[in-house]
């Protein structure tokens, strides 16, 4: 796939994703508390933290599934808000994979994959199909195009979901606990696909508690608690010498399991 031209590449200074003092409230409850985070081109960020710490909320604000209440999020130099420019930048840059896969159950695998390219990107049917075949192969699910989601295993469904996101040809992929809903024996096949994707230079933000995966894919580990980024470090330092007590405790709990 040809690399898209980007302001981040040209300027070489501005990060691809830039979050500044982002806050988010659900009613009176503050889910994000002045979060600032820069993510460069091709960078891999793994986010972990206890349940309810705001990990999902953070990545959902990036693609506007949630609207932040304060601060600023910029992608490729464009402010993320309700404007047409923001919609265009999200469409051209950001894909997402969900914990529960969220495939469209009434559509075949092929139709799941081509819907976005056909309707949102305006591709011709032949081109959309070609794209779908290409990415299905990449996630190692050829020959299943005519099946429906409920005919596939959980691991296969999640790989189809990854292919569906890739069919939009994004530069940034958001993963929200992509293996948490999977049976243990299917986790590896999904993580392998994500790792392969990481090797292609995709910019990725992954919320996961798979620390083995995190340690060799992440460029940057982020630990969140109570809506704040408590710790941010390269994986080596993050795992060997976490600074905060909360992060230490959390890692001990995770690694014990």
């Amino acid at each position: 796939m040809p690399a898209k031209k980007s302001a981040a590449q040209d300027g070489n200074a501005a990060p691809l994703i830039r979050m500044r003092d982002v806050s988010k409230f659900f009613g009176a409850f503050q889910a994000l508390d002045q979060v600032s985070l820069d993510i460069g081109m091709s960078e891999k960020v793994v986010i972990c933290g206890p349940s309810g710490s705001g990990k999902s909320t953070l990545i959902r604000c990036i693609n506007r599934l949630e609207q932040h209440d304060a601060g600023e999020i910029m992608i490729d130099g464009v402010t993320v808000d309700d404007s047409a420019a923001a919609r265009a930048v999200l469409r051209n840059n950001v894909g997402m994979v969900f914990q529960q896969f969220n495939l469209f159950p009434h559509l075949s695998i092929l139709d799941n994959l081509t819907l976005g390219p056909l309707r949102a990107r305006g591709l011709a049917p032949a081109a959309a199909r070609e794209l779908a075949e290409y990415y299905l192969e990449r996630v190692r699910i050829p020959e299943q195009m005519q099946k429906f989601p409920d005919q596939l295993s959980g691991g296969q469904q999640q790989r189809v979901a990854i292919a569906r996101a890739l069919c939009m040809e994004p530069r940034i992929m958001l993963f929200d606990e992509p293996t948490s809903a999977l049976d243990p024996e299917m986790i590896a096949e999904v993580l392998d696909v994500i790792e392969e994707l990481a090797a292609t230079g995709m910019t990725m933000i992954v919320v996961t508690h798979e620390m083995g995966f995190a340690s060799h894919v992440a460029d940057k580990m982020v630990f969140m608690d109570h809506g704040r980024i408590v710790e941010m470090a390269p994986p080596k330092r993050f795992f060997s010498e976490p600074e905060s007590d909360r992060c230490k405790t959390f890692l001990q709990q995770i690694l014990r399991n």
Binding site: N63, L90, H106, F148
Partner: protein, 247 residues
């Protein structure tokens, strides 16, 4: 168990057996006069079905249009939805039929046929129920489906058209079937403005033949057969579509 559904008929036949006052000759299919009367009654079937089917088609569209603002995040569209639903539900169908036929032409300065006045009144009345059915059906679709559609940048219209509505409509199909049955029954009210459907035909024949018991018994049977057939059809459709979300 199934035979229980026919108890009104069985009762009537039992009554017919013990009473000497029945005059089935008016609808006796072996005599020319009885045949003519039967044909006269059955002729109303066309308008009963045409009215109901046209009205349900319009009320489904209207119901969907009314349901969508009811699902909005903002308050004003939701208020519009509530006001429409509550207002329409508060008006008796018979009253709505009379108002549309006699009142609307004066208000809007148009002429409206008996058929279209009936269709319009039935459709408006039913649309409030359709709107509630659609709203419940759409709300029953998992939030993840909306989010997935958003994540591949579908517009609102595309999301509804390709992702949400196909799944929602499948779930509400039984309810839509029930509304069709309900509509077939309510269409009898359009007889008051002179629509020549089943009920009107029966009334007219009663006036000329003075045999209300026999003629209305036939009318009951006509509705019974029609509605049992439609119910069976809806159930068949449901079972054919299966329980899965697959197409």
């Amino acid at each position: 168990m199934r035979i229980l559904k026919f108890w009104p008929l069985l009762t009537l036949f039992a009554l017919a057996g013990c009473s000497g006052n029945w005059g089935w000759y008016v609808v006796n299919p072996t005599t020319p006069a009885g045949q003519r009367n039967l044909m006269f009654l059955l002729d109303g079937l066309y308008y009963t079905i045409a009215l109901s089917v046209t009205a349900i088609a319009i009320s489904v569209l209207l119901g969907l249009l009314v349901a969508l603002p009811g699902l909005a995040r903002q308050r004003p569209p939701r208020v519009i939805n509530r006001v429409y639903v509550e207002l329409v539900r508060a008006v008796p169908i018979l009253v709505l039929i009379l108002w549309v036929y006699y009142g609307l032409p004066q208000v809007a300065d148009i002429s409206i046929s008996v058929f279209w006045a009936g269709v319009l009144a039935l459709a408006i009345s039913d649309s409030a129920f359709q709107a509630e059915i659609f709203r419940a059906g759409i709300q029953s679709i998992d939030r993840g489906q909306h989010e997935a559609a958003h994540s591949i940048s579908l517009s609102y219209v595309d999301k509804m058209r390709f992702v949400i509505l196909p799944q929602a409509i499948k779930r509400i199909l039984p309810a839509l079937g029930n509304q069709l049955v309900y509509m077939l029954k309510m269409s009898s009210l359009v007889s008051v403005i002179g629509m020549e459907e089943l009920t009107r035909r029966a009334n007219e024949l009663v006036v000329t033949e003075y045999r209300p018991l026999e003629i209305y018994t036939v009318l009951v049977m006509e509705y019974l057969v029609l509605i049992l057939l439609v119910s069976a059809g809806v159930r068949w459709l449901e079972s054919r579509m299966g329980m899965s979300d697959r197409r």
